[in-house]
Symmetry: C2
Amino acid sequence: MKLGFIGTGVMGNAIASNLQKAGYELWVYNRTKAKTDNLVAAGATWCATPQEVTEKTDIIFTMLGFPQDVEQVYYDSQGIFQADVQNKILVDMTTSKPQLAQRIFQTGQKKGAQVLDAPVSGGDIGAKNGTLTIMVGGQQATFDKLQPLFQAVSSKAQLFGPAGAGQNTKMANQIMIAGTMTGMSEMLVYAKAAGLDLNKVLETVGAGSAANWSLTNYGPRILKGDYNPGFFSKHFLKDLRIALDTAAEMKIDLPATKQAKELYEKLVDDKKLGDLGTQALVKLWW
Amino acid sequence: MKLGFIGTGVMGNAIASNLQKAGYELWVYNRTKAKTDNLVAAGATWCATPQEVTEKTDIIFTMLGFPQDVEQVYYDSQGIFQADVQNKILVDMTTSKPQLAQRIFQTGQKKGAQVLDAPVSGGDIGAKNGTLTIMVGGQQATFDKLQPLFQAVSSKAQLFGPAGAGQNTKMANQIMIAGTMTGMSEMLVYAKAAGLDLNKVLETVGAGSAANWSLTNYGPRILKGDYNPGFFSKHFLKDLRIALDTAAEMKIDLPATKQAKELYEKLVDDKKLGDLGTQALVKLWW
């Protein structure tokens, strides 16, 4: 089985590398060629375009930045759908729009390809350690075929429904995190203004009914002034925009998520701090 | 040592009962007398006013509903400060305004009494089981004297600073919870609108970087349609109002907490659902 991998940034590179380690042969493409060097050194074949990757392989993974990147890689000239995709499997791991996932699925159906949307959570550490969670949308038979590959790069892959369901599950996850990130930031801002010992506050607030992953993992980093990205603020803002656009299409209003998006817009667009981690939200106050 | 207990609702009654079980003699007052019946049956002495409780005891606990109740019980005619409080210790366990806690402390200072603010977290179950967390503000020496009593009713009591610091720590805790509650509600609303299996979503979202206590504890109840109060929405709204009033006094803006307060206002004031638990927030959509 020949695997293609398009998009070898931090996340994609780590996932592709784990596929290599599991013994699979890879054909790779990335806009910045240098980011495929380690994979090529380990035996992967460089291709000049997404189309070429698709022509040479059976199962093609994409792990890109923004929905517009996904759209280009699939639909542009020299894109995936310029190749004959008959009987191939296309797996988009980018966190992207549910509606775009459905469109890619439908294009695939017409051309005889199987398609999954398969965004992940777990960050760069999860990608390196192969402990990602993969949220999948698409058909059960396709999902079943991919299981050995998902097992090589994640600790859990689950099918949530038809095309787009993986993206929607990821959006649900990000909406939850919008709450823990804004709550944590405003909690720390309040506690600091009130003159409290922030280490003691973190310990106490984190031990009871306010406990959450963001507080446990980002709280201590914030107190150390460590705003290095576990997850880029600019990518989280992208996710919140997708979530809110999709919510609007579904005619539901999510005011707290909207408020979170507006705060991250201030951080990313106004303060130009999108390359810091999501925990940098407190910098709007401090 | 003679103990007074004023305010024997769900929380106060359970705490007072644990003090009795630990062997302390109690004098009690409650607006609705019947709510002291179990304590009187177990040996407590009923008093007709807060003033009388204070006159007959050495250490007086208050556990009331709203800041205005606290103000009345301390400052009204027949209130605590109508008694001679010289050398007595006053402990307000109500979740109330930090500024009111400071005012009571100062009044106590003038009259020769020691004062602690000591709001709790852990809910009715924590109160019954003696596993509350107590967040204390006041003087170290007073806190040290109270340690045996706090140990009888909680699993952890911690001094956070001078008068008001206990209330401010509790407010920080509630600001964090505002994030987990709004995030969880909007996450479920999104996931349901997207047609996802909510049990699977809870499991997946609750296992990764979106994990939090509210999701683990309230998520399954919401899916069962169980909106019984672990914590009343009307009390959470009170807390958010205190937090935002205090934040405004400190000249800090907390937009996500403000958004949460507006949502709970819709639930409590507009929909009149304040007697449901905080997890009923999803009823704004469903």
